[in-house]
């Protein structure tokens, strides 16, 4: 019998520690499939963050170096500059990339560092127990916005991808989601395209991924995938935000 589905080579044989229904595990798999398909496993260096994905190096079968919270873009810059022939990606949460690491992210993008960022937007700080993130929806209750996020008091959901779209050094930015088979397929295409941009030396590429966090959203897995469609993607519309490649996709 022909085997038509198996674990990607770049994904270690390990049991994910993520909660049931969490988007991180899907995204890990997608990244690994792309790394396999592009044949870059032996020259890829990943930079995971503090956050729920801090143990990403237990799953990705590529060289990895943990960064300090928010500093992934700077660490990736150092790696890529020291070793230009490597393929470098950061894996960053929304707290990591759009709060504490905003500066590093914008300036790395502005220098057009030839790296790829996988940006997981789950609208909360997952690892530390569901506190408000800069991406938290208005009205959403978290442990640090217990009355529901109010723009005038707690600020507004920040659109890092749109901001980065304005930055000259970026070549490709797309927002996708991993809440349905169709969206997962689109997410994979986007990730592949982002890595391809790096292989082509085009500059900073980023894929923002709306990713369910049932645990901190206090929803079932099913409710949370629906919520991504019904609420989250209204605030964070899916689609290409910037594309200077001139190519539609790389498949």
């Amino acid at each position: 019998m022909e085997k038509i589905f198996s674990r990607p080579k770049s994904l270690k044989k390990a049991v994910f520690h993520y909660c049931p229904g969490c988007g991180h595990s899907i995204i890990h798999r997608l990244c690994c499939e792309v790394i396999d398909e592009l044949g870059i496993q032996d020259r890829t260096i990943g930079v995971p963050p503090p956050g729920c994905s801090v143990f990403a190096y237990y799953y990705f079968d590529v060289d990895m170096v943990e960064s300090a919270h928010g500093r992934g873009a700077a660490v990736a810059t150092g790696i890529k500059r020291a070793l230009p022939e490597s393929i470098v990606f950061t894996y960053q949460g929304d707290g990591d990339l759009s709060a504490i690491g905003t500066t590093e992210t914008i300036h790395t993008a502005n220098r057009g560092e030839n790296i790829t960022a996988i940006f997981i937007n789950n609208a909360v700080y997952g690892m530390t127990g569901g506190q408000m993130a800069p991406t938290t929806m208005l009205g959403m209750k978290t442990t640090t916005s217990p009355f529901g996020r109010e723009g005038k008091y707690e600020g507004y959901p920040i659109k890092m991808s749109e901001i980065l779209g304005q930055v000259q050094g970026t070549c490709y930015i797309e927002r996708v989601a991993v809440n349905s088979p169709a969206n997962i397929r689109k997410a994979k295409k986007a990730i592949k395209k982002a890595f391809q941009c790096q292989l082509d030396g085009l500059g900073y590429s980023l894929v923002e991924i709306l990713s369910p966090c049932p645990t901190n959203w206090k929803m079932s897995a099913i409710q949370s995938v629906k919520w991504v469609d019904e609420v989250m993607s209204k605030e964070f519309p899916l689609g290409v935000i910037k594309d200077t490649t001139g190519k539609k996709d790389v498949n």
Partner: protein, 389 residues
């Protein structure tokens, strides 16, 4: 400790114009120093010494009084073949770039002055945790806060006690001349690689900005050094990761022990100091860096007046040359610690002496530069107060 070996860079293929440019820049660089000694600022001397030590990457952010170093690297490192210079968006970014570069096994450095060094502490702690070598230069200035841009030694505690969070130290050097800045830059890279511990040069605004003749004792390596344990992609070997976070405290305890054992080895094998006129001294001044230069002037005058005064100058500030100082207490009872702060190294002086001598203190904080005449008065007063002859 993992053994550190080097493997040489695979030669990258270059286009003909690039190769010509590379050749020209290499020639230009060689021609620059045909004489043994050149007159340079301390900041520039560090830059030149770092390039000659095979430093491949420099990342920095402007702050006085170390800008000449950043500028030197912009002019002399940034377009060197295989090398990188980035003016980062902050000191936090700069140290994290050093971290990223170092993880690939290359020699990397950053420099700053006191307020910027505070921002780097997070990154230094992570480098210590990941056992990553690298050089951090602090041309320190008066503090606290934004402070003053004048030379001060107020960061001694921060530098020698780790500085960031967690139980770690860095290897710290306290040079006192432009020549020593150059020599110690080389040594800092070597020791940092050998022990897999970040190294720091603690200078000050005066050392950084003054010009002195300097001789460079090393030629830049023909090929940039790369540590064999660098992360450079899992080609022909299983993938590896470098991390600091663990859910197992016992593992972290083992790391702390491993670091601690290396600090002990450093203490045993690598400390250095200068003893100046200490053999017959009745009173020994302890001072480091630029303060030691000022102290020497005062001591020379005191000697001319017949006072038997000497100087103990630690060159490694961490580890501190404890035994070497304790040794001096066999013949001398009185010590006078002199610093450009309110008394920080004096803790190490007292810890080293273990009560074997009496320690007085004189210091000027905030960036005020004491003169040797002023310090001579302090020496003279103490000398006669203690009834020395």
């Amino acid at each position: 400790m993992p053994p550190v070996t080097y493997r040489l860079h695979a030669k990258k293929t270059m286009s003909a114009p690039d190769a010509l440019l590379a050749l020209l820049s290499a020639l230009k660089w060689r021609l620059r120093f045909t004489v043994a000694k050149v007159l340079m600022t301390g900041n520039a001397a560090i830059g030149e010494a770092a390039i000659r030590a095979g430093c491949q990457c420099y990342f920095g952010y402007p702050i006085t009084p170390q800008n000449e170093l950043t500028e030197y690297m912009a002019s002399n490192l940034s377009r060197r073949p295989g090398c990188t210079f980035i003016q980062a968006e902050s000191e936090i970014a700069a140290i994290n770039m050093v971290y990223g570069a170092s993880v690939t096994g290359v020699r990397a450095m950053t420099s700053s002055s006191s307020p910027g060094i505070s921002l780097k502490q997070e990154g230094i702690s992570y480098m210590a945790a990941c056992q990553l070598p690298g050089l951090i230069v602090n041309m320190s200035r008066g503090g606290p806060g934004l402070g003053s841009i004048a030379a001060a030694q107020s960061d001694y505690h921060q530098s020698t006690r780790g500085g960031g969070h967690g139980d770690y130290r860095t290897i710290v050097f306290g040079p006192s001349s432009v020549q020593e800045l150059a020599d110690l830059t080389h040594r800092a890279f070597e020791l940092s690689d050998k022990y897999s511990i970040p190294a720091m040069i603690l200078g000050d605004g005066m050392l950084g900005q003054m010009m002195e003749p300097v001789e460079f004792k090393h030629e830049a390596p023909a090929q940039l050094p790369v540590r064999a344990n660098g992360l450079r992609g899992a080609k022909g070997r299983p993938s590896r990761f470098v991390r600091t976070f663990t859910s197992n405290p016992a593992e972290l305890e083992e790391l702390n022990w491993s670091l601690f054992r290396r600090y002990q080895l450093l203490q045993k094998n690598e400390v250095s100091c200068e003893n100046y006129l200490t053999d017959d001294a009745q009173l020994i001044v302890t001072a480091f860096g630029i303060a030691a230069r000022i102290a020497k002037g005062a001591i020379n005058e005191a000697r001319a007046a017949g006072l038997k005064v000497g100087l103990f100058r630690p060159i490694t500030l961490f580890p501190f040359p404890q035994q070497q100082l304790k040794e001096l207490a066999k013949n001398t009872k009185y010590f006078l610690d002199f610093e450009m702060n309110m008394g920080q190294m004096i803790d190490d002086v007292k810890l080293s002496l273990e009560g074997a001598g009496e320690v007085a203190f004189y210091g000027r904080p905030g960036g005020v530069i004491p003169t040797s005449t002023e310090f001579l008065r302090v020496i003279t007063r103490l000398y006669y107060q203690k009834g020395l002859s």
